[in-house]
């Protein structure tokens, strides 16, 4: 079966993000970018399916500006077979991403689409769900375990009360949670080999998708700074502060 994975280029999770002074967005100049960590988990899962002989081909897809090619190269180095960049310099909101992914799905006809549960830049947590709705496919979100048996996909998902297991008919959409797997270290020879794997570039126009934003972003602001904590010298002092200052009892 063919597996498709959506990978987004985001600000590296180690970077302390800052807002632009004019409140128009997050500062991206001179900031280290990387693959969205949940997407890395999704790629790892796809590659494991291939190594287990379940997947026949893994196709990585990214939507965004030219530098997304670097993110796709990382996916190829991790073991994806080929990559597709849908190149666009416009802002892509989850609905536009889902529509573009749907168009790619219609071309590629994968049996399984893996996504991250959310992108750590906007934390939207919408794309996978929207894509499933648009395609009319079953979805297993926040997956912490994926198993294929007798043509059915068993997805264990993390929910507030614990774990829930769903059985999905293929084709299906799965979004990866943190505990699904631990992505491998990319080997240096694979990085070199990834340069030779095919990477196709297409545009939203090629796919006939209107990507105009439906939501307007008014302002981006930093959260109010947390007040510094203090140290207490003894349990008695702690109890007294809880009582008199924090007034918890």
């Amino acid at each position: 079966m063919k597996v498709m994975v959506a990978v987004k280029r985001v600000v590296d999770f180690n970077v302390k993000v800052r807002c632009k002074a004019d409140g128009s967005g997050v500062e991206l100049a001179n900031v280290k970018m990387a693959m969205n960590p949940f997407d890395e988990i999704a790629v790892e899962e796809a590659v494991r399916l291939k190594e287990a002989g379940i997947a026949s081909e893994v196709v990585a897809v990214s939507l965004g500006a030219k530098p997304c090619e670097e993110t796709l190269r990382t996916a190829l180095a991790m073991g994806a077979d080929r990559a597709i960049l849908v190149e666009s310099d416009s802002e892509l909101q989850p609905l536009a991403v889902a529509k573009l992914l749907m168009a790619v799905v219609e071309r590629e006809a994968p049996q399984l689409v893996l996504l991250g549960k959310q992108a750590i830049d906007d934390d939207a947590n919408q794309t996978g769900q929207m894509l499933a709705a648009l395609l009319g496919w079953p979805q297993g979100t926040f997956a912490s375990r994926v198993e294929l048996s007798e043509g059915q996909l068993k997805v264990t998902r993390e929910i507030d009360g614990g774990l829930e297991t769903l059985a999905l008919a293929l084709p299906a959409i799965v979004t990866a949670d943190l505990r699904l797997n631990e992505p491998r270290y990319v080997k240096l020879p694979s990085i070199m080999a990834a340069k030779k794997k095919p990477l196709a570039v297409i545009t939203p126009q090629d796919l006939g998708v209107d990507v105009a934003p439906r939501l307007k972003q008014l302002k981006v602001a930093e959260p109010a700074p947390r007040r510094a904590g203090g140290q207490v010298g003894s349990v008695a002092e702690l109890v007294s502060k809880l009582k008199n200052e924090a007034k918890v009892f």
Binding site: N30, V31, K32, M33, A34, E70, R73, T74, A77, Y185, V186, K187, L188, P189, I191, M192, K195
Partner: protein
């Protein structure tokens, strides 16, 4: 992200992959490695799997086809996490570079793929108790006995020696011919007649122990690297490469020290104000940054010359001198920024200072680098 001069996207991708491994696997252990003198040779197989142990080699012998700049960036990332590990890798490269530069395809085929795959670790034996900065003064002898050489002598400060699969040994085949009488040999570590001493008690890089090694053994003629008398030339070429590795290690330690100093200066309050607001501290940070960036540039310049196949002995000497002296200054100043806390063993500053100290000494002390630089100008 904007990059330093001459670094490509591929170089960055490789360095990022190495950095991830180094930060996850090496950095959390670096303190314990230092404290308990744990040999970083334990990481050799993981590093080989990643592709690092053969990174100095062409693809034909297990390398990855990376540029010299990618090699520099990768070593710097490892040193940023753990200086001992960078040193262990450097010693391995000294051995494999010797085989690559001095040997023919037959001996390259015999040793290099195993060295790249982590099956065999390399060690490099040039220095002797009476011959450090003056390798021509070595007295270890290799005397022909039929299809073998009888190797006799003592080598000093040999990193990786105990865990090595092979040791590249430099010895005199003709004691009357000066530097032209030196030849290089690959010796299997477990050849009868090799004695490795207990490790030296070192100030820093305590996870990369150095040993005295005594040889009284037979080495097959087929294990000689190149012609008799070619050893000194090989060693000099090998050192051109390794000085860049030392420069890279210096840069990595400096990066770690400077990052710690900046974070501390922003965090630490004096009289209700961050340390970073004090001009005295700002000037320290500025001087550290300046020396670090200057060292990066000259090191990348040397790497570019190496990549272009130009002669780069003087540039690698300048890179090593500039970067190792900068590392001394930067690690020491970073400790100063931390005040009394910097002097404790709870924080990594004192380890960085100790690890950086050897960089001005091994693979040609700062004084020797100046000689190399000057010679290229007046010779």
């Amino acid at each position: 992200m904007s990059e330093r001069l001459g670094i490509t996207e591929d170089d960055r991708a490789i360095a990022d992959a190495v950095a991830r491994f180094a930060q996850n696997e090496l950095a959390p252990q670096a303190h314990i490695v230092d404290r308990d003198e744990i040999r970083t040779t334990r990481y050799a197989s993981q590093l080989a799997e990643l592709g690092v142990m053969g990174m100095n080699l062409p693809e034909r012998w297990g390398g990855i086809g990376a540029s010299p700049a990618a090699l520099i960036l990768s070593i710097a990332e490892i040193a940023k996490a753990c200086g001992s590990t960078a040193s262990m890798i450097g010693a391995h490269y000294l051995a494999t570079d010797s085989i690559l530069i001095g040997g023919d395809d037959m001996i390259r085929d015999r040793y290099l793929p195993d060295a790249a795959s982590g099956a065999k670790l390399g060690a490099f034996a040039l220095t002797e108790p009476g011959a450090g900065s003056n390798p021509a003064g070595m007295i270890t002898r290799a005397e022909r006995e039929g299809e073998h050489y009888r190797l006799r002598g003592v080598k000093q400060f040999i990193s990786n020696a105990d865990d090595a699969g092979f040791i590249v040994v430099y010895a005199k085949t003709d004691p009357n011919a000066g530097t032209r009488g030196i030849s290089a040999f690959v010796v299997d570590r477990h050849t009868p007649g090799i004695t490795v001493s207990a490790p030296e008690k070192l100030m820093g890089i305590r996870g990369a122990p150095a040993h005295e090694v005594t040889f009284d053994c037979l080495v097959p003629v087929a294990n000689r690297l190149g012609e008799e008398g070619a050893g000194f030339y090989t060693a000099m070429k090998v050192l051109d490469n390794s000085r860049l590795d030392v420069a890279a290690t210096s840069l990595g330690l400096s990066e770690a020290a400077l990052a710690a100093a900046v974070a501390w200066a922003k965090e630490r309050k004096v009289g209700g104000e961050p340390l970073a607001n004090k001009q005295g501290i700002q000037w320290m940070l500025a001087d550290m940054k300046l020396r670090l960036e200057a060292a990066w540039l000259i090191t990348l310049q040397a790497a570019a010359k190496r990549g272009a196949g130009e002669k780069f002995s003087d540039y690698s000497a300048m890179a090593k001198l500039c970067a190792s002296e900068a590392a001394g200054f930067i690690t020491d100043t970073a400790l100063q920024v931390h005040g009394g806390y910097g002097f404790t063993r709870e924080l990594p500053l004192e380890r960085l200072v100790r690890d950086a100290r050897i960089l001005r000494i091994y693979e040609g002390a700062s004084e020797i680098q100046r000689t190399v630089i000057a010679r290229a100008m007046v010779a």
